[in-house]
Amino acid sequence: MSGDDGMPREDGPDDGGFADALLEEELRQAAAVLDPVPAELLQAALDAFALHDLDARLAELTFDSLVDALPVRGVTDAPRMLTFRAGEVSVDVEVTEEGLIGQVLPPQSARIEVLGGPQTTRPLTADTLGRFTSDTPPTGPFALRLRTGGEVIVTEWLRA
């Protein structure tokens, strides 16, 4: 950085540009040394390849109370309300501290699993109207896998 007094100047683009590039590269090395991607996260991302499933239909998140609902004054622990949609099928889910409540619409029986990662699945019971409950609140990323009417639907991954 010789000859650079560091004061803000009206440089031409190629005057301080080289010094900028050097400093940026120095920062890049600093990040690699002082704040690298944690090894266990890299492994989690590698393992996520198992979640790649072309046969399942993807139910996209179409409503998330965290983003789409107006906060209610004085209510700080309102349950998280989520709606996922895959074509004509939608899934409403309410996440509370006690667990999950939800329903498949239009009402239909379904086998449902809660996914917590590439290796973690927990079956749920749903009644003939597609209503389901779980007394275990999801921790961390989760998705629901539904088997209904001969097809498999998976909701978009979400952080609870």
Binding site: A30, A32, P36, L42, A44, P118, E156, R159
Partner: protein
């Protein structure tokens, strides 16, 4: 690469993960999430990317897709925190991880002590630059260098404003380093 991964090529997936993880991580760190929240956002981003493989229309924009997804998840975390805890601020200050990497141990060796000191100062000075600069530089320093499209997706700022902002922030950082006599 994305197409190969769609076709079931695990090596292509590995290359994607290794090439893009630093960018996703930089977005998490730029938003100053706690470690626990940050880890969950990182995982959610990759789980969702795996799920969307084959549905991503422009594979060459996978980096921007990942950056944008990570950003939105970060913003949700911050929104959830703001709603749940109105008084105390649960966010932790950005800091280097406690674990010492092999590279860090190497840099600690005596002959590299000066360089290590400069790297640490550089890192400390980032916090004094103001939020916009700190965020931009944290994403900018991902490896390999992210494109402006990816940075735009990561931070929600216009591509056209990145160049001038980058220049201003880098010069501000250099001025602070010089003021502290670290050359």
């Amino acid at each position: 690469m994305v197409q190969s991964a769609v076709d079931g090529d695990a090596a292509a997936w590995k290359a994607l993960v290794e090439g893009m993880s630093p960018l996703v991580w930089s977005v998490v760190r730029a938003h100053r999430l706690s470690d626990a929240d940050g880890h969950e956002v990182f995982q959610t981003t990759w789980f969702r990317f795996a799920q969307h493989l084959g549905r991503i229309r422009e594979p060459d924009k996978a980096g921007a897709w990942l950056a944008s997804t990570a950003r939105h998840e970060c913003l949700k975390v911050l929104k959830g925190l703001a709603r749940l805890t109105l008084t105390d601020d649960p966010r932790v200050l950005d800091r280097a991880s406690e674990d010492r990497t092999p590279e860090e141990s190497l840099i600690d060796s005596e002959e590299a002590a000066d360089r290590a000191e400069r790297v640490r100062r550089l890192w400390q000075e980032l916090d004094g630059l103001g939020e916009r600069c700190r965020q931009l530089l944290r994403v900018l320093m991902a490896s390999p260098p992210p494109s402006y499209g990816e940075i735009s997706a990561a931070l929600g700022i216009a591509v056209g404003s990145i160049g001038p902002l980058r220049q201003r922030c880098l010069r501000r950082l250099r001025a602070r380093m010089n003021a502290r006599g670290a050359v």
